[in-house]
């Protein structure tokens, strides 16, 4: 009994000096953050993927990464029929960085924030470089059903392909609609899209 108490006390003392783990950080977020607009407090609770990526510094062991990716793959809801929408509508979605923030109106048109991180249309010079350039994406890969499935899936849930990718799970998170993801798929794959000129 004494021994147990002692080791608990020791553990406690060690914890006070150790760097806080993700569960402790979550407790801090619960205490020090508050819901605002559509940004509810549910968002501070990490899902398994966020927790593992945090704890492994975005580098989970290969087997674990595979399991995570397979789990994420199951979340992708593929619509019936063609996955290519209208690239003409997609440019606006790619440009807009709005959506899912506490000052965004719930239900208002959101964007994918694509240009924040990727080069797409050659006409847009103000593009970010956090993600790879997507210029000429469809030209290099064609637009067969396999590629369509990959692009739709990647936008819907990027973590299905790379567990700790920094790209948001835009469909899974509810930021983009099925229509918008189909339009973005066309922006990348349609031969007439500016991306492929």
């Amino acid at each position: 009994m004494k021994k147990t108490l002692l080791s608990i006390a020791l553990l406690g003392a060690a914890a006070a000096w150790a760097d806080p783990g993700s569960q402790e950080v979550t407790q801090v977020l619960k205490r020090d953050f508050h819901a605002r607009g559509q940004a509810t407090m549910e968002r501070v609770v990490q899902d398994g993927l966020q927790r593992i990526c945090t704890e492994t510094h975005n580098n989970p062991p290969a087997a674990l990464a595979k399991t995570l990716e397979a789990d994420q793959m199951k979340t992708i809801a593929y619509p019936q029929g063609s996955l290519m929408g209208d690239w003409r509508r997609a440019e606006k979605v790619a440009q807009s960085g709005r959506g899912s923030m506490w000052n965004d109106k719930p239900g208002a048109d959101a964007g994918g924030g694509c240009y924040n991180c990727h080069q797409l249309s050659p006409k847009e010079q103000s593009y970010g470089t956090v993600g790879p350039s997507l210029l000429g994406f469809g030209k290099k890969r064609g637009n067969g059903p396999e590629v369509q499935r990959y692009v739709y899936g990647k936008i819907y849930n990027a973590k299905a392909y790379s567990a700790c990718s920094q790209m948001p799970r835009l469909g899974y998170a509810g930021t983009l609609s099925e229509e918008q993801i189909k339009d973005l798929t066309a922006l990348l794959l349609d031969p007439a899209s500016p991306v492929n000129q």
Partner: protein, 261 residues
């Protein structure tokens, strides 16, 4: 075309190696015309103005160097304050002084934390005035008290903690060298070399918003864009984040308030 070029210039932060590029020239031009000084003057007025139920000024506020001592105070923040047994950053301490010295309620004092271009907030004016009194002083946030060490460790953990609707951590954008969001360079804030010149020039006047911005605002607005709920003003989490950033910049000579794109 000209408009596009201008906005490209506005949006681009300055890489340190490009001292004589058009970007550097642009930044010098902006700095020369910056209204930071006006904010300092406004802040001094507010510092000396009797306010609250007690109708006293903030002049006796102890920012860590003794009551009313401003020289070098900002460069030594955040730090542990014995009277409250917690670590505080500048704005947290100011809020404390508004409550204890002036008798103001938290509700009243936090009613309008972040201003706009036509009506800046009290915290913005005061931050400009107080931070400017640390110009030329080496940044040395508290690093000895256990609670200071704890705040640093928490800030660091927060920096890499992924959560929210878009799975972001601070490091999602500020974790890899040489990356941009649109045209904005993204400094790796965990890397002293990249972080020091930036942290040493906050708080700052932002040309793109025509507004003076504080560190509490900076953290708040990052979490907004991370699709997270809102960090509570002056909470331990926000102070810890400021402690982490200030500690990464430790040793850099403070030369703010700066002027940013």
């Amino acid at each position: 075309m000209r408009a596009v070029l201008c906005s490209a210039f506005l949006a681009a932060a300055l890489p340190a190696f490009a001292q004589d590029s058009p970007f550097a020239k642009y930044q010098r031009m902006v700095a020369e015309g910056s209204p930071v000084e006006l904010f300092e003057v406004g802040g001094e007025e507010l510092w000396k103005k009797p306010q609250g139920p007690k109708q006293v000024s903030l002049e006796k506020c102890d920012l860590g160097k003794g009551p009313g001592v401003l020289k070098g105070a900002y460069a030594a923040l955040p730090r542990y304050f014995k009277d409250v047994d917690r670590v505080m950053d500048l704005e947290t301490r100011l809020l404390h002084c508004m409550s204890t010295l002036q008798g103001r309620s938290r509700e009243e004092a936090t009613k309008r934390l972040f201003g706009n271009d036509s009506n800046p907030s009290e915290m913005e004016y005061l931050s400009a005035y107080i931070a400017a009194r640390s110009r030329g002083v080496k940044m040395a946030p508290g690093a000895t008290h256990p609670k200071e060490k704890e705040a640093y460790a928490l800030g660091k953990a927060l920096f890499f903690h992924r959560a929210g609707a878009w799975d972001f951590s601070c490091a999602s954008c500020h974790g890899e060298p040489g990356k941009r969001i649109r045209m904005s360079d993204l400094p790796v804030l965990s890397d002293p070399k990249a972080a020091r010149p930036l942290i040493a020039t906050w708080p700052a006047y932002r040309v793109s918003n025509s507004q003076f911005k504080t560190m509490q605002w900076r953290i708040n607005d990052c979490y907004r864009q991370m699709r997270m709920p809102e960090p509570t003003f002056a909470s331990d989490a926000t102070v810890a984040m400021n402690m982490y950033l200030a500690t990464v910049a430790k040793g850099e000579t403070y030369r703010g308030p700066g002027t940013k794109r």
